[in-house]
């Protein structure tokens, strides 16, 4: 789960990491009202859960107080990579003498948290990592001992070559690690961490992602979650115990298990089609889940055929078949269906689907080929209808 910059900075401030004086505004008039108390000039920053807002024109410096409302209104409502900006952060302008990067993630290979820092702050750290990996300083963190002062100080010394700044950096890095652990983050980042004219350090930006697996012990996340950044169908699917991700193609798919779902999408592409979605119906099977799954897939107008690929284990094929028929009864399914059901209770499922309009397939490859062909002829069929009406 991602949170906004202003929300991350509230956490920073609570843990004693220095942040600029700034306030969040939800409309241009509010922004205009807040600016004078911060002192001109100010920086207005779009609050949006996606990177690259600076390049998209979502961050602007405003010199005169009477321009704040106009600039804020140009940013609020803006579309950045498909997401609407609903809030802006109005921030004091600070005197920047240098920019660094500092962040913590869990390194999958060493199975431990790692502190990363770079003197090349302000740019996407992934770009630095790709182009000049030697510019990223890393130190592994012992999960039992935590981030030790000397480790953080050594990184600070390498960044600044100054003992006072190194100590200040170490303090910030250790607070970051405290947040990382206490708040169950999967990523925490300051980019840039700026050196001010006064000689001290300040977190000019903040990024925190939470580990979704830890949501059972963080009830407060529900209150700060911004659903506007999520695809509504994906939210609906999650509530029903499904994992759905919308894609651009026209072959819908319902699969049990994430790996098999990805493999099914890949095979659709391999046979000349394009998957319309990723959908994992999850482990425990119920006909109701299947009804929801079909409704969500059919809500995408691009879908021209649906492929159901189930390898029954805990999931029972007869439940899937029953759910499929129930879905057909509830909604007018306007696209051809191909089902490949194998494993637990596959025979019962075949019996249930006998006489229905569902095309059965024996193997995964066979099922995919049929679904791709049906989607194609469905598109062509419609196009020739359009032609005939001329």
């Amino acid at each position: 789960m991602k949170i906004h910059e202003y929300q991350a900075k509230e956490i920073f401030a609570a843990f004693g990491i220095p942040v600029p004086r700034e306030r969040v505004a939800t409309n241009p008039a509010e922004a205009a009202m807040l600016a004078p108390e911060l002192g001109m000039p100010v920086v207005i920053k779009a609050q949006v859960l996606v990177g690259g807002r600076g390049k998209a024109g979502g961050v602007k410096k405003v010199v005169s107080a009477d321009q704040v409302e106009a600039v804020a209104s140009s940013i609020i409502g803006m579309d950045i990579k498909g997401l609407r900006v609903n809030k802006v952060l109005v921030s004091e302008c600070v005197d920047i003498k240098g920019e660094a990067y500092v962040g913590i993630i869990i390194d999958r290979a060493t199975r431990a948290p790692v502190l990363m820092a770079s003197a090349a702050g302000g740019v996407e750290i992934e770009e630095v990592a790709k182009a000049t990996p030697e510019k990223i300083l890393k130190v592994g963190i012992d999960p039992a001992a935590g981030l030790l002062s000397f480790q953080a100080r050594n990184i600070g010394m390498a960044l600044y070559g100054d003992a006072k700044l190194a100590r200040e950096f170490a303090g910030i890095a250790q607070k970051l690690y405290r947040i990382f652990v206490q708040k169950d983050c999967s990523l925490i980042e300051i980019n840039p961490l700026v050196k001010l004219g006064s000689g001290s350090l300040l977190a000019l930006d903040a990024k925190i992602n939470f580990d979704d697996n830890a949501d059972f012990r963080h009830k407060e996340w529900e209150e700060i979650r911004d659903l506007s950044a999520e695809e509504p169908t994906e939210v609906e699917a999650k509530a029903a115990g499904l994992t759905y991700i919308k894609l651009a193609g026209n072959v819908g798919c319902v699969v049990n298990g994430a790996g098999l779902a990805m493999a099914t999408m890949d095979l659709i592409k391999r046979y000349g089609g394009e998957p319309a979605n990723f959908l994992d119906v999850g482990g425990s099977s119920s006909p109701e889940k299947m009804v929801t799954a079909m409704r969500i897939i059919l809500s995408d107008p691009n879908v021209k055929a649906i492929l159901i690929n189930i390898f029954g284990g805990i999931t029972r094929c007869d439940d899937i078949a029953t759910g499929l028929l129930a879905a057909q009864k509830q909604a007018d399914i306007r696209v051809p269906l191909v089902a490949r059901l194998t494993g637990t209770n596959a025979d019962k499922a075949r019996e249930i689907l006998k006489g229905s309009v569902v095309t059965s397939a024996d193997s995964m490859s066979d099922a995919v080929k049929r679904a791709v062909a049906l989607a194609r002829s469905n598109v062509e069929g419609r196009m020739s209808n359009v032609g005939g009406a001329k």
Binding site: D211, V255, G259
Partner: protein
């Protein structure tokens, strides 16, 4: 022979009094696994599926001689259940539970370092040595005794792949789990398959996210004496989206399927592009 589990593995089921625990305790027993008991704190003394329930792993080990455990408790209790097994010096703990916080797994594996217990999972289907023992949730009918070792980050895709080994059958099939931090990785399994006389070929089923496949490829190139087939799921996955598994995500442009496929090819691993190709490709390499 086989790897990780066999006829001599004595298994306890943590969370045996729950719905899933009870169901799978019975299914594993019916398969022929040597299931010796279960653990649910506070419910010691009960019987489930004809098996005695104990209050703690320590007690279960004392009374049954168990050397392995399988965990079916909710994610919020799974961490403690794993610690308990490690503290009791079990050989193997299989964590089926999904949704364990990543940092909790970091701490569990740190605790396990230098101790006896191997952790498999979490968020995995478990392990099966067909005809010998099943310590997992996979449908038994999809597996048969044979000579192909399978290791996979997925669940149902593993069943699909195993069923495609056809007449060769499987020595052991291991689902290592779809989380970013897991107890047993590809190399842990490859080392064992390489040393197992019964295993004649190995199939590695990877997916997007992380660099486990790349490291496995390097290991294969340097050490493996047996033919290895590889499959990578997620060629069509969009970047930045978590594809169901917590660990299946392309982040910052790394962890992509083409990178992993390339690493496999460079290591001499035969890459298969769909499960149906596994049977014929095995034939050509065995």
């Amino acid at each position: 022979m086989s790897i990780l589990v066999d006829k001599n593995t004595r298994v306890i089921v943590q969370g045996i009094t729950g719905r899933d625990g009870a169901f799978h305790a019975k299914a594993m027993k019916e398969y022929g696994t040597n299931v010796v008991g279960g653990v649910t704190p506070g419910k010691g003394g009960q019987m489930v599926a004809g098996l005695p329930v104990f209050d703690s792993v320590e007690e279960a080990v004392k009374k049954t001689g168990a050397n392995a455990s399988i965990i079916f408790v909710p994610a919020s209790f799974a961490t403690d259940a794993m610690y308990e097994c490690i503290a009791s010096d079990l050989d193997l703990v299989v964590c089926i539970s999904e949704g364990v916080p990543t940092m909790d797994m970091v701490k569990v594996l740190d605790y396990a370092r230098g101790r006896k217990t191997r952790v498999l999972g979490p968020n995995c289907p478990g392990v099966i040595s067909p005809g010998k023992a099943k310590v997992g949730i996979m449908p038994a009918a999809s597996f048969k005794p044979g000579c192909v070792g399978v290791v996979s980050r997925s669940g149902t895709l593993t069943y699909e792949v195993a069923s495609q080994t056809g007449e060769f059958g499987q020595s052991t099939v291991v689902g290592i789990g779809g989380d970013p931090v897991i107890g047993t990785n590809f190399i842990d399994c490859l080392e064992r398959f390489n040393a197992d006389p019964e295993t004649k070929a190995i199939v590695v089923v990877g997916e997007i996210g992380g660099t486990d496949e790349e490291r496995a490829a390097e290991w294969v190139k340097a050490n493996c004496r047996k033919p290895v087939l590889g499959f990578i799921a997620g060629q069509t996955a969009p970047p930045g989206k978590r594809m169901g598994h917590a660990g299946a995500i392309i982040s910052g442009g790394s962890g992509t399927a083409p990178e992993k496929t390339k690493a496999f090819e460079a290591a001499g691993i035969t890459v298969v592009h769909e499960p149906d190709e596994i049977g014929p490709k095995l034939k050509s390499r065995l």
